[in-house]
């Protein structure tokens, strides 16, 4: 439905360069990246609120680079939702209908169903200054829905909500997307939000596209070190290639005094013996055990527990190798498996299928 090709633009000293991605009709595409990476600029370009220096934006196969925002039929929900402060809830929702020249009475009849469907049918007469965070979200969604736009640009619209309400709105967004066959382009730096809502993800960093594709592919196979950091990989260690076998690479990691066997992935670069690489692994892929003897010496490191941060049924465990305090390993541990305590010697296993190389 939406195709962005080589999108390039400048805002002051910051530039977005050659960003390309596609969003299928009825799907949710997330632009994921840290604050200040250019996600909002991309969103505003798609909305027609910023002029491109180069590149094309196509909606339903038609180039819309020169189309005014009011003609694009693309709804935009900024971070603070921008509900019009001089209007009541119903006037906010009916704004697009009023602009199109519909009489006030007809507007209010048209918005009733949408408002009721979003659970705000009872607050239509209220001033927007007297709404809760959740109600504001619903009013903004209703306003966009009533405008009849089938593409919605959501710029971190849930960032100011507390966790419980955020999850409630996630479900609401998914429900109305299916009910109205909407297409979302959503900006967030929250990985949980991205994974819950998205079908596809683009990782943006420093105004550049690092990776785009199916969310599971992006999450499990980040294409670069930066992309891995953005999708939440916690552990990175420098290592040296010691052996290059048919299906595996043998690595040595001096900081952990450990050797690893790593599966070669399709399309991965050809590493040479003696070449330096960075090994990455998620905290929840590490297996922590107090047993000292493990079958096979590969992919295991002897470590000492530094700190344990309990989080209900699980715990985040920080570990170090010997006296080295410069290399800290983060592991997520179900407390029922092996209760550990600071100072305890443990063995950490790195499953070969979960190790990423950069």
């Amino acid at each position: 439905m939406l195709e962005v090709n080589d999108l390039t633009l400048r805002a002051g000293a910051f530039a977005v360069k050659e960003v390309s991605f596609e969003v299928a009709e009825g799907s949710c595409h997330v632009l994921l990246g840290p604050t200040g990476s250019g996600k909002t600029l991309i969103l505003e370009s798609v909305a027609g609120l910023r002029r491109l220096q180069a590149g094309t934006i196509k909606l339903a196969g038609e180039e819309i680079n020169g189309t005014f925002p009011e003609k694009r039929k693309i709804a935009y929900l900024p971070q603070d939702l921008a509900l019009f402060p001089t209007m009541t809830v119903k006037d906010n929702i009916a704004y697009s209908l009023r602009i199109s020249g519909l009489a006030k009475r007809d507007c209010y009849a048209r918005i009733k169903d949408t408002a009721t469907g979003l659970g705000i049918g009872e607050i239509l007469e209220r001033s927007i200054h007297h709404l809760s965070g959740g109600e504001k979200q619903r009013v903004a969604l209703a306003r966009a829905l009533v405008a009849g736009n089938r593409m919605m640009l959501l710029d971190e619209p849930l960032s100011s909500l507390h966790t419980g309400l955020r999850r409630e709105i996630w479900h609401l967004l998914q429900r109305i997307r299916k009910e109205h066959n909407l297409t979302y382009l959503l900006v967030t730096h929250d990985l949980d939000e991205a994974l819950f809502l998205s079908d596809t993800i683009s990782i943006i960093h420093g105004g550049r596209l690092l990776q785009t594709g199916d969310k599971n592919e992006v999450f499990n196979r980040p294409s670069s070190l930066e992309a891995a950091r953005i999708v939440g990989v916690e552990n990175f260690f420098a290592a040296v290639v010691q052996g290059n076998e048919a299906a595996c690479l043998r690595l040595h990691c001096p900081a952990l005094s450990a050797s690893f066997m790593v599966e070669k992935r399709r399309g991965a670069p050809l590493y040479q013996e003696g070449e330096g690489v960075t090994l990455g692994i998620r905290a929840n892929n590490l297996i922590l055990t107090v047993a000292q003897e493990q079958p096979g010496e590969m992919n295991g490191a002897e470590l000492v527990v530094e700190e344990v941060y309990e989080k209900g049924s699980s715990a985040t465990v920080l570990l170090r190798h010997g006296d080295r305090r410069d290399t800290i390993v983060v592991a997520e541990q179900h407390k029922q498996n092996y209760p550990v305590f600071p100072g305890q010697k443990v063995k950490l296993l790195f499953p070969r299928e979960n190790i990423m190389l950069y």
Binding site: E70, F84, T86, S100, A144
Partner: protein
């Protein structure tokens, strides 16, 4: 002395400076004389001319200031910084100099043609209005720009994506949002115009019952050693300004530029 008390002392001191000046007027005050001045056709003419000229000035200034201030607040364009700097000209250049600049302009071929074929400004009521406009326009634009600067652009952006043209987004979203601030800017511009003297006297002169605004009237009475008459005109001017400022506070009790 605590910081709070010290700052309140300064606030009271500022009030006292003006209070002492106002109270000192009573040394030359007699209610009988004041009533006679107020009822005089000359004073009534000065009041009427001051109100009418300042109101026309505000109207013209706002017609020019609102779109100009919006452009300065919202858009980037060549020469924006120069225009922005020029707006402060009336603050730095004395009103008499502004008036002299207007007189010099009317001595150029273009100015001469305007005087001969469009409208005579020098030594006329139109000159009073023109002098006031030149003296307060920059400040009016600056005040209105401050109002638009306070209103986030994202409201207009969202309105555009909901189908509004740039003009419709401005008129349906920004203008209603700004009306308190625009009203405050109008009141301040009006007050500044009513009190304008230097440019007015340079362009329109001191012609009794013709170009005699209240400040000009005060000057003329002082020049002819009519102290009681000057005191009467000063009291009328102060009362007029205070009534307008009080009424504006009554309409928008909270103050502030932008409706939040």
């Amino acid at each position: 002395m605590s910081f709070k008390r010290l700052s309140i002392t300064f606030a009271v001191s500022v009030f006292l400076i003006y209070a002492v000046l106002i109270i000192s007027l009573y040394s030359f005050y007699s209610s009988e004389h004041l009533l006679r001045i107020i009822a005089s056709s000359r004073a009534l003419y000065a009041v009427r001319l001051s109100i009418v000229a300042a109101s026309v000035t505000v109207l013209v200034c706002m017609i020019l200031a609102v779109p100009a201030a919006y452009a300065l607040s919202r858009y980037h364009f060549v020469g924006k910084r120069i225009i922005d700097t020029l707006l402060e000209l009336p603050l730095f250049v004395s009103p008499a100099a502004l008036g002299a600049m207007i007189l010099i302009f009317f001595n150029t071929p273009v100015g001469d043609w305007i005087q001969g074929n469009v409208q005579q400004f020098v030594f006329t009521v139109y000159g009073v209005i023109l002098a006031q406009i030149i003296a307060v326009l920059g400040i009016a634009v600056r005040l209105v720009k401050a109002v638009f600067d306070e209103i986030p652009r994202r409201y207009e952006k969202v309105a555009r994506t909901l189908g509004a043209s740039p003009y419709r987004a401005f008129s349906s979203i920004t203008l209603p949002h700004a009306y308190r601030g625009l009203f405050a800017a109008m009141v301040l511009t009006w007050a500044k115009a009513v009190g304008e003297f230097g440019a007015t006297v340079t362009v329109a002169g001191t012609i009794a019952m013709r170009t005699e605004t209240l400040p000009v009237s005060i000057y003329m009475r002082l020049a002819s050693a009519d102290i009681e008459g000057a005191v009467g005109s000063i009291l009328i001017l102060i009362t007029l300004s205070l009534v307008v400022l009080y009424l504006s506070r009554l309409i928008f009790p909270g103050g502030g530029y932008v409706r939040s």
